[in-house]
Symmetry: C2
Subunit: 192 residues, 2 copies
């Protein structure tokens, strides 16, 4: 049973700050205050800010996609699987101070301020999610639970865009409650 090391604590705090404020309002000083370490010491673990962001994105992407794959591998029906997938985004929005969005939603919005290696990571996260959605939608179409016309990829883009982008909008209006209803209506559109 290993205790949480400093590196992990730094990543935890950085992630929370970005999810709330954005990458350009997350500073080594802010992390320093929360972790209880001097800001110069952070450079021991992550020499440059891009190193920290790359490590953070890799960790986040791994964790998130592992949860998604867990859902896909379950024995649930496609409809339940899709609901559970949407639930991942709902949980992010409603957890803690209720003002956190997906890490890659914030980074996507601030994409033009990121360096190339980070841009690629965000893009990969989006693509990986849409790939999983395509699989899920095809399964649901095969067993007759979803009514999807021709272009499954576009439907996947629609769903992901609504979840990932819509949570940024939902936060402005004040809530995960409204976000939940929107997702429910999306399900009605897709269900046969």
């Amino acid at each position: 049973m290993k205790q949480t090391d400093t590196k992990t604590l730094i990543l935890d705090v950085a992630q929370e700050l970005i999810q709330r404020l954005g990458v350009n309002c997350m500073s080594y000083q802010d992390i320093s205050n929360s972790v209880g370490i001097r800001k110069a010491s952070i450079h021991t673990h992550f020499p440059r800010k891009d190193d920290l962001l790359a490590a953070l994105l890799d960790r986040y992407s791994d964790r998130f996609l592992r949860m998604v794959d867990g859902i896909l591998a379950s024995s649930d029906t496609p409809e339940v699987k899709l609901r559970r997938y949407c639930g991942l985004f709902e949980t992010t929005l409603s957890s803690g101070d209720r003002d956190k969005v997906c890490l890659c939603a914030m980074l996507g919005a601030e994409l033009k301020t990121l360096n190339h290696p980070l841009v690629e990571r965000v893009r990969c996260f989006y693509e990986a999610n849409e790939e999983r959605l395509v699989t899920l939608l095809n399964d649901g179409r095969a067993d007759g639970s979803f009514r999807i016309d021709e272009d499954v990829q576009t439907t996947a883009s629609l769903i992901f865009g609504l979840l990932e982008g819509g949570m940024l909008v939902a936060r402005v209006r004040g809530g995960s409650d409204q976000f939940h209803q929107v997702i429910e209506q999306l399900m009605q559109f897709i269900k046969v």
Copy 2:
């Protein structure tokens, strides 16, 4: 015939910078370089940065909602009106360097870094848009062109969330082409 004054030029450049990079990467120095004026002179027109942002949001909101009201007041069918409304967002994404999003989409993402008077303006923009959408959807339901179940307000939130939030996601994947297809599929969901 009045020529474009400095104040307008400053707002134009500031808007472009925010739509591309976000509010926290828009500086008086950047504006200075593009407008061809020293950065100290900008304070003559907008003493504090929040003054500039407030004026910018008011101008943007007025212009955008005037276009929306123009669409609503036209003699088009509800379906055409909705397509034209979606077109406003498509145009933003495909104009210029193809990497601009709605001003209030960026500000919504960075909401937690804004001061209260600005937060209210973003919130009002969202509400005003959803109000117009509710009207449009009710019209379409009345004349039988839209098949919407019970909760028109939720459908409006869904559409606005997909347009406003989805354009942030679409920009990452590379395009207004994909965004256009997503909107087309949304129309298929809504049409009777």
